[in-house]
C-alpha cells in the first residue's frame, strides 16, 4: 500500500515532466508557425512587389526618354515640316543625351526610394541598339520599291499633298509579315479636296467607291498647302493631326493585325505627291531612290538594382522606344 503511494508520486512527476516536454514542443512549433505566417514572408513579398513596380517605372521612363531623345531627328512624326531648317544629331550625340537623362532620372529615383525607406536603387545603361529613320523629305510620287524587308518597322507616316496631286492613279502599298504570313493592302487616291483611303487583307477587297475614310485636306501641317497626314503605324489619318477630334481611324488593319518583322512594298506608285518617313531597327542597307536616312536609338539594355535589407533584385531588360 505504502509502496504504491510512493510509486504514484514518481508517476505524477514523470507525467509532469512529459507534459512539460510536450508544452516545449508545442511552443517551438507555434513559435515557428507564427513567425512564418505573420512575419517571415509577408514583408519580403511586399518588398518584392515594390521592386517589380520600380522596374515597371524604370522601363516606362526609359521608353519615354528614348522617344524624346529621338525626337531631335523626327520630322513628319511630330507633324513638323520645317525639318529642313533643323540640324540632325548623330547617333553618338543621341546616346550622350540619353545617358545624361537616364543619370538624372536614376538620381531622382534613388532619392525618392531612399526617402520612403532603406532602399537602394540604381539604374544604368548597358548598351544601345541603333536603328535608322528613313525619309523622303520632298513631295513627289513614291517610287515602286520595297521600303523595308524583314525588319521591324514603326512610325510609318506619310503626308500627302492633295492640292498638287492628280487623281489619275491611286497609291497602293502592301505590308506583309516577313515569314510569309498575312498581308495588309492600303490604297489612297485623291478625290477633289479629299484623300480617300481604304485597306483590306487582299487587293480584291479594296473598294474605292466606298472607302474606309474620306479625309478633308487641311493646311495644318504645311502652311498654304492642303495636305492629309496618314499615320500607318497608329492607324489614323487627319487633315489636322494636331486636333484629336479631326483624326479618323484609318487605315484599320496594319499595326493591329500584323506581327513584325515586315516586308513593305509599293505595288502601285500612283500619282500622289507624298513625303514619308519610317523607322527600322537596323541600318546599313540600300534606301529607296529618293530617300535619305538618319540615326535613331532603337532600343537600349538597362540594368536595374533594387536592394533592401530583405531583398536584392538585379535585372537587365531591353527597352525600345518603338513598338512595331
Amino acid at each position: 500500500m505504502i509502496d504504491t503511494q510512493s510509486e504514484r508520486g514518481q508517476l505524477i512527476l514523470a507525467g509532469a515532466v512529459s507534459f512539460a516536454l510536450i508544452l516545449i514542443a508545442i511552443a517551438l512549433v507555434f513559435s515557428t508557425t507564427l513567425f512564418t505566417a505573420s512575419v517571415g514572408s509577408s514583408g519580403t513579398v511586399e518588398t518584392v512587389a515594390d521592386g517589380t513596380g520600380t522596374e515597371q517605372s524604370v522601363e516606362h521612363t526609359t521608353e519615354g526618354l528614348l522617344e524624346r531623345v529621338n525626337q531631335q531627328n523626327d520630322w513628319l512624326l511630330t507633324h513638323d515640316r520645317t525639318f529642313l531648317d533643323r540640324s540632325e544629331s548623330s547617333a553618338t550625340e543621341l546616346e550622350n543625351r540619353f545617358d545624361d537623362n537616364l543619370s538624372a532620372y536614376g538620381r531622382q529615383l534613388a532619392a525618392s526610394k531612399a526617402e520612403t525607406g532603406p532602399t537602394y536603387v540604381n539604374v544604368s545603361r548597358q548598351s544601345f541598339n541603333r536603328g535608322v529613320r528613313i525619309k523622303q523629305d520632298s513631295f513627289s510620287s513614291v517610287p515602286a520599291v520595297a521600303f523595308v524587308n524583314e525588319r521591324k518597322l514603326d512610325e510609318f507616316v506619310m503626308i500627302v499633298d492633295v492640292e498638287s496631286s492628280t487623281d489619275t492613279a491611286p497609291l497602293e502599298i502592301e505590308i506583309s509579315e516577313s515569314n510569309g504570313g498575312d498581308s495588309t493592302y492600303v490604297r489612297m487616291e485623291k478625290n477633289g479636296d479629299q484623300l480617300w483611303i481604304d485597306s483590306a487583307d487582299s487587293t480584291g477587297d479594296l473598294d474605292m467607291t466606298a472607302p474606309e475614310c474620306r479625309i478633308d485636306a487641311d493646311d495644318a501641317v504645311v502652311s498654304g498647302t492642303n495636305t492629309v497626314y496618314v499615320d500607318l503605324s497608329n492607324n489614323f489619318a487627319a487633315g489636322n493631326p494636331y486636333d484629336p477630334s479631326d483624326r479618323q481611324a484609318c487605315p484599320e488593319q496594319f499595326s493591329d493585325s500584323l506581327d513584325a518583322p515586315y516586308d513593305v512594298a509599293v505595288t502601285n506608285t500612283g500619282s500622289l505627291n507624298t513625303a514619308y518617313e519610317y523607322t527600322v531597327n537596323e541600318s546599313g542597307f540600300s534606301l529607296p531612290g529618293t530617300a535619305s536616312s538618319t540615326d535613331i536609338l532603337w532600343s537600349t539594355d538597362v540594368g536595374i538594382v533594387y536592394e533592401t535589407s530583405a531583398v536584392l533584385r538585379e535585372s537587365e531588360t531591353e527597352v525600345s522606344g518603338y513598338d512595331p
Binding site: I2, S6, G9, Q10, L13, A16, V17, F19, A20, L21, L23, I24, I26, A27, L28, F30, S31, L34, F35, S38, V39, S42, V45, E46, A49, D50, G53, T54, Q56, S57, H60, T61, G64, L65, R68, V69, D100, N101, A104, Y105, R107, Q108, L109, A111, S112, K113, A114, E115, T116, P244
Partner: protein
C-alpha cells in the same frame, strides 16, 4: 517520526547509514521537484515568448484582408501608369481655380462626392468606394536638388485618415519637360497647352500656390527631358 508501517520516515541524517532507497528518497523527491519546476517554467517562458505581438494580435487587422487590399491598390496604380492615367492625374491641374480639375473641396482636392472623372478615378471608385472603403491619393516629390531627400507632398484625393486598418502602396511616375497640363480628369481637353515649368511659376517668376500655380516643382535642370520623378502614394482605409 514513525510511518504507518512503523518505519522511520524522517529524512536521513548525516552519518546515518540508511540507503537512498530508504530515507534518502525525500532528497530525491525534492531534487526531482525542482527539476520538474524548472522544466515547466522553461516551457511557460517559451510559450509566452512565442506569442509575437503584431498589429493583428488584437484581432482588429486581418493580415489576409490587408494583403488583398494592398494588392488591389498596387494593381490599380500600375494599370493607371501603363495607360498614362497616373501621369495625367498628376497634371490635371486648373491654374485658374488653384485646384485639380473638377475638385470642389476648399483646398482644391477631390473628396467623397466628386472623384476624378477618368479611368483611375473609376477604378478607385468601383474597387474601394463602392465597398464603403475610403482612400487618399498623394504625390510626393523632390525639389531641384536631387541629393536633398527631404521631399514634399501634395494631396490629390482626401477621403479621410486612419491610423489602423489602412495600407499605403506607392508607384513612381516620371513627368517630362515637354508635357503640358491636362483637363482630362474632368472630361476636358487632354492638353491645355500649359507647360509644367511655366505653370509652376504662373504669370510671374515666383511660385505661389494661392495664385493657382502648379504645385509640383521642377526636379531637374531645364536641359533635361525629366521634369520631376513623383512618388504617388495611395492609402486605402477599410
Amino acid at each position: 517520526m514513525t510511518g504507518l508501517d512503523g518505519s522511520d520516515d524522517r529524512p536521513p541524517r548525516r552519518g546515518d547509514d540508511r540507503s537512498i532507497d530508504g530515507d534518502d528518497r525525500g532528497q530525491a523527491y525534492t531534487l526531482e521537484g525542482i527539476i520538474g519546476a524548472m522544466i515547466l517554467l522553461t516551457a511557460v517562458l517559451m510559450a509566452l515568448n512565442s506569442a509575437v505581438l503584431l498589429p493583428s494580435t488584437s484581432g482588429t487587422i486581418d493580415r489576409g484582408v490587408q494583403s488583398d487590399v494592398g494588392q488591389q491598390a498596387t494593381d490599380i496604380l500600375r494599370l493607371a501608369d501603363e495607360d498614362g492615367n497616373l501621369s495625367a492625374t498628376l497634371r490635371c491641374y486648373d491654374t485658374g481655380n488653384a485646384s485639380f480639375y473638377g475638385a470642389t473641396s476648399p483646398d482644391g482636392t477631390y473628396g467623397y462626392s466628386n472623384p476624378m472623372n477618368n479611368s483611375l478615378g473609376t477604378m478607385l471608385e468601383e474597387t474601394f468606394s463602392e465597398r464603403y472603403n475610403s482612400y487618399s491619393l498623394r504625390a510626393n516629390y523632390r525639389t531641384t536638388d536631387a541629393d536633398d531627400v527631404t521631399g514634399e507632398e501634395v494631396t490629390i484625393v482626401e477621403q479621410g485618415n486612419a491610423l489602423r486598418k489602412s495600407i499605403t502602396v506607392t508607384h513612381t511616375v516620371t513627368l517630362y519637360e515637354d508635357q503640358n497640363l491636362t483637363a482630362s480628369c474632368d472630361g476636358g481637353p487632354a492638353d491645355t497647352g500649359e507647360g509644367l515649368r511655366a505653370a509652376y511659376t504662373g504669370d510671374d517668376t515666383d511660385h505661389d500656390r494661392d495664385e493657382g500655380d502648379y504645385p509640383i516643382p521642377p526636379g531637374a535642370s531645364k536641359e533635361s527631358e525629366i521634369y520631376n520623378v513623383v512618388e504617388v502614394r495611395l492609402t486605402i482605409i477599410w
